[in-house]
Symmetry: C2
Subunit: 391 residues, 2 copies
């Protein structure tokens, strides 16, 4: 009935970079050939794609499009190579930045005067789009082209920082730079930090959002959420991701192949009630666990009944994602030592950004001890981070 | 930060039937042997399963458990047979009501004095749990056993009724009785209507919720949402289901095999931008469409790139689900006549509850005409419905 307050009908509170770009930067862009790195989550407050906004603007010459993992139109499954092609709607060439070439080549940039980046990040270090951005900033620098980042909210809000700082020898495409697992920065702030702290030194402009406050999570912004990749369906997914994303480095299912990836986790050898009770007895802040069974339709344990838990973030401010993730992994390791395994691929260490967290878990060290080990470097980062905060 | 209002940390506003059962019905239940029909969504406000609540209560003798589609612990994929077994945690026998036997047999009820039903419905006629309830009510009547329904909120709220009334010759397990596609009733109210209007005549008790108001949708209740089946992951899914659930009767993917079933719909032969623009030009109330591509990991078009749209319900009060669903199907039929098909299985007619909606679409009739054709019978139902409203 009309009087019922309705969550979805309210006007967005925040304007993202693409909403503010054309009024604020019309002069700088006029007559320039624009190369845009984006994916389906690059939309304005009324869900219009940045590609179409720029393509339809008479003052803008859109000459190249670049797609990260899952492609410009977001139709590739995790891990699939995304080839180069012509965008049907605009006729503009689309280059893939996820296959062999992760970095725009001079050839791809030959018709580009300004390289623009508009992708929704999720605020967790091992989510690859921020490294697509870093490589593109390097290419812009090398080819003498200015780089513009259209800023977007961090879905988890802008206050929490948590987790170990990546150690350089563990750098990979799921963690290029020494930043914490949960960085609490917007993509524009991160671009400034990358540019200065890791000496990319590109001619960088961050197109700011309007009305975004650090305490806002994505729901608070009332912007429509577009899934930034096939297995990141909701804002809730972004909150549990820094916790259960680490599980990708083990033989436990992180819920890929279900409709609630990263919220449902389990394995055939787990007793869901036992895991639920053990985890709830830890009284981890802002989260509760529900015994749950599920059958993944692809990825780990495909077609096999798995038993585990669903994470319920009951208080997004109190929730400590990394502490929760480490506690879940340690608990399963300790309860099922014969069955639990870190994957031999070494992916856990790449996700954690070091090799000692795995060994500490293997040696039965407490989660508190693990967290204390990286507290100092996290505080140091926090000081560096402050220099780059825009909001 | 502490001052940020936090959606998930607030206390639930509503108590469901399982929360009110033991204080209010302790006397009637004392010493009786209870048979409970439930699934993982049968939890109290703190996510404790009704099975455990009844099993752990010294005054209650839980002697049998009955599982609907997907089973008591919710671990079977849609359509899989759920066999009979012993519940690990309680040692109580579990009988399946989804395989060959959809109705509890006298044998299954031999140790049962009261048959209890606690399952979260989603408010749409072709969601099967309400028919599991109807069969169980018949069995209770035939075996001289009282039947208790622990009431739960209708996730879509209690005001909207919409869609065609089922015509008896199209009755099936996805539609047993002449009720509309979207009935706006709680499961307890529906049990009373079934019992009287369709002469089941069981000794029925509805254990009422406390503090639920008809204008509340599930988010407004602040209860934790437990997915009632593997492809109904969020409250948003329940809102789009009466619209895109109809698509199951066509060769279009209704989004099974993605992380957003019923929100993402598409097919290999659709042009997503063309469909987005055509649907948005209809200015359907309370909904907008975003061009989207996806690759289902199972079910229709498995492994094949599909193009279509994502539905965004922008105003849950104004949204007309059935009108939207019919408009989507008609639009795709009209835009892609060579490729679009109603499935030869006749499933569309079973979901719609009649044979003439399909033929009207095939003959190019307008959606308004289709809706007008069932307006009268819908109003008649609305009068009948009023007699059974509890809140």
């Amino acid at each position: 009935s009309p009087d019922s307050k309705n969550q979805t009908a309210k006007k967005p509170k925040v304007q993202t970079g693409i909403d503010t770009l054309l009024p604020d930067y019309k002069k700088q862009l006029k007559g320039k050939r624009i190369g845009l790195i984006t994916n389906p989550a690059g939309v304005n407050t009324s869900l219009k794609s940045s590609v179409d906004i720029l393509y339809e603007n008479p003052d803008i010459k859109l000459t190249a499009l670049f797609g990260p993992e899952h492609g410009v139109r977001g139709d590739a499954q995790a891990g699939d190579e995304v080839g180069s092609y012509i965008d049907e709607k605009t006729g503009v060439p689309v280059y893939s930045l996820y296959g062999k070439t992760k970095k725009p080549t001079p050839e791809m940039l030959k018709n580009v005067d300004i390289l623009m980046f508009d992708i929704q990040d999720v605020g967790t270090r091992f989510y690859t789009y921020i490294y697509t951005m870093a490589y593109a900033m390097e290419a812009a620098k090398e080819n003498g082209i200015p780089f513009m980042v259209l800023d977007r909210p961090n879905p988890q809000g802008g206050n929490h920082i948590e987790g170990p700082i990546l150690e350089p020898e563990y750098a990979s495409f799921v963690g290029l730079y020494p930043i914490p697992l949960k960085h609490g920065m917007t993509i524009g702030e991160l671009a400034s930090l990358f540019n200065k702290e890791f000496s990319i030194d590109a001619d960088l402009t961050v197109v700011k959002m309007k009305h975004w406050k650090r305490k806002m999570d994505f729901d608070d912004t009332r912007l429509p959420f577009v899934l930034p990749s096939p297995n990141m369906p909701t804002v809730e997914s972004t909150f549990v991701y820094p916790a259960t994303g680490l599980i990708e480095g083990t033989n436990i299912s992180e819920g890929r192949g279900t409709t609630k990836p990263f919220e449902l986790i389990g394995a055939p050898f787990i007793k869901s009630t036992e895991l639920e009770e053990t985890l709830n007895s830890l009284h981890l802040p802002g989260v509760t666990f529900r015994a749950a069974s599920f059958t993944p339709t692809f990825s780990k344990h495909q077609g096999t009944l798995c038993h585990g838990v669903q994470l319920y973030v009951t208080d997004r401010d109190k929730f400590e994602a990394v502490k929760t993730g480490l506690s879940v992994i340690k608990t399963i390791h300790d309860l099922y030592p014969e069955d639990f395994e870190f994957l031999s691929t070494g992916s856990f260490d790449k996700l954690a950004g070091n090799g000692w967290i795995r060994t500490k878990i293997e040696n039965g060290t407490s989660v508190e001890n693990i967290i204390n080990s990286y507290e100092k470097t996290l505080q140091q980062f926090s000081k560096t981070r402050k220099k780059y905060l825009i909001y």
